[in-house]
Amino acid sequence: MGGVVLCKVYSNLIEKKDIQLLPETRKKIEIKVPGENRMLICGIVATILVAGLFFGLKMHLTSLEEQISQINQEIAELEIQRNKKAEKDLLALGERISVASSIVNDHILLTKAFEKIESLLSRQVQVLSLEVSVGSKNIKLNMVATTYTAIAKQIAAFLADDVMEDVVVGKISPGSGGLLEFGMELDLASSKFFKKE
């Protein structure tokens, strides 16, 4: 009973247009909350910065790569410009000079042996023959002396010299003209003696 009454009242209200159940137009109510775009702006800014950094770095690396390839190209051009004949000639010259220097440094100066014997020889002793051998580092002498004392002095003179390592005296015998004939072998300390100091 009551429901029927309510329905009638409702119908009357609709007919009279006193009540509107659905609006004819919709309008959204925008409420601005401070800082609501902050995350979005941060995201955009970060993306722009990272993208900018990416392209900046990419460009920088590309320019560095170009520099390297340019240097490589210059090296390749230099390689083409090489004067290989000059290089070969100079290398050969270097080797020849090295060989020549080594031979000059080891050059044997035999006159030093003669000078040494002359400087150590006593006036009472005379050399009849001599033999100098660089390989075996010795000097063989056949000599004559007036007295045994002269021979002893001569041995002492040779031994006193730093160049001599050992002095070996052979048989001493009276020869022609009253002189004493004897042989002597001088062993040198080093074959460096024959080389230029």
Binding site: M39, G43, T47, V50, N83, L93, L130
Partner: protein, 179 residues
């Protein structure tokens, strides 16, 4: 279309995440490559500079070599290329004449079976017999020692000559050459 606050936050968060990822994966890797490239450039530049300097030095040296070729050739005759036995005999004869000595016998030959020395040279054996007074021996030896082509005398024997008053001299030596 307007974005809701939640969507804005979501998009913002995604953008930040993407930016972080790109930074980590690309930017940072590229940044780390810069010193490697810089060092490579320095090395390449050093190599280039060295090669330029070397080339310049070679050119300058080669110029000097060309200008002084005759002097260099003379110096290199210390150890000639090849035995040059004819030149050696001629030099020994000249030295003997200048020393007032007459050569009674001379023989020059490559030492057969001799290997190339450590110096990279081979030897020519020289044997000379002379008759001379003592003073001439010293002059002769001195001249040999000062000869441009190096002759090393390995052995000398001096003894009185039976035939005359002069001394008989027997010299054994060697000269060098490059083969």
């Amino acid at each position: 279309m307007t974005l809701t606050s939640t969507r804005k936050n979501t998009i913002g968060a995604i953008l930040i995440a993407v930016a972080a990822l790109v930074f980590w994966v690309f930017d940072l890797v590229m940044y780390k490559q810069i010193p490697i490239f810089d060092s490579a450039i320095s090395e390449h530049q050093a190599v280039l500079q060295k090669r330029k300097d070397a080339q310049q030095n070679i050119q300058s040296l080669y110029g000097t070599y060309q200008n002084r070729l005759s002097e260099i050739q003379k110096f290199l005759s210390i150890v000639p290329e090849g035995k040059e036995i004819a030149e050696l005999i001629s030099a020994l004869e000249t030295i003997a004449v200048q020393s007032g000595i007459e050569i009674s016998e001379i023989s020059i030959a490559e030492q057969k079976g001799a290997k190339t020395s450590k110096k990279g040279t081979r030897n020519v054996g020289i044997s000379i017999k002379l008759l001379a007074p003592y003073s001439s021996i010293l002059t002769f030896l001195n001249s040999i020692e000062q000869n441009i082509r190096v002759i090393d005398i390995q052995r000398i024997a001096v003894a009185p000559s039976i035939a005359n008053t002069l001394l008989g001299i027997d010299i054994r030596g060697e000269a060098y050459f490059i083969k």
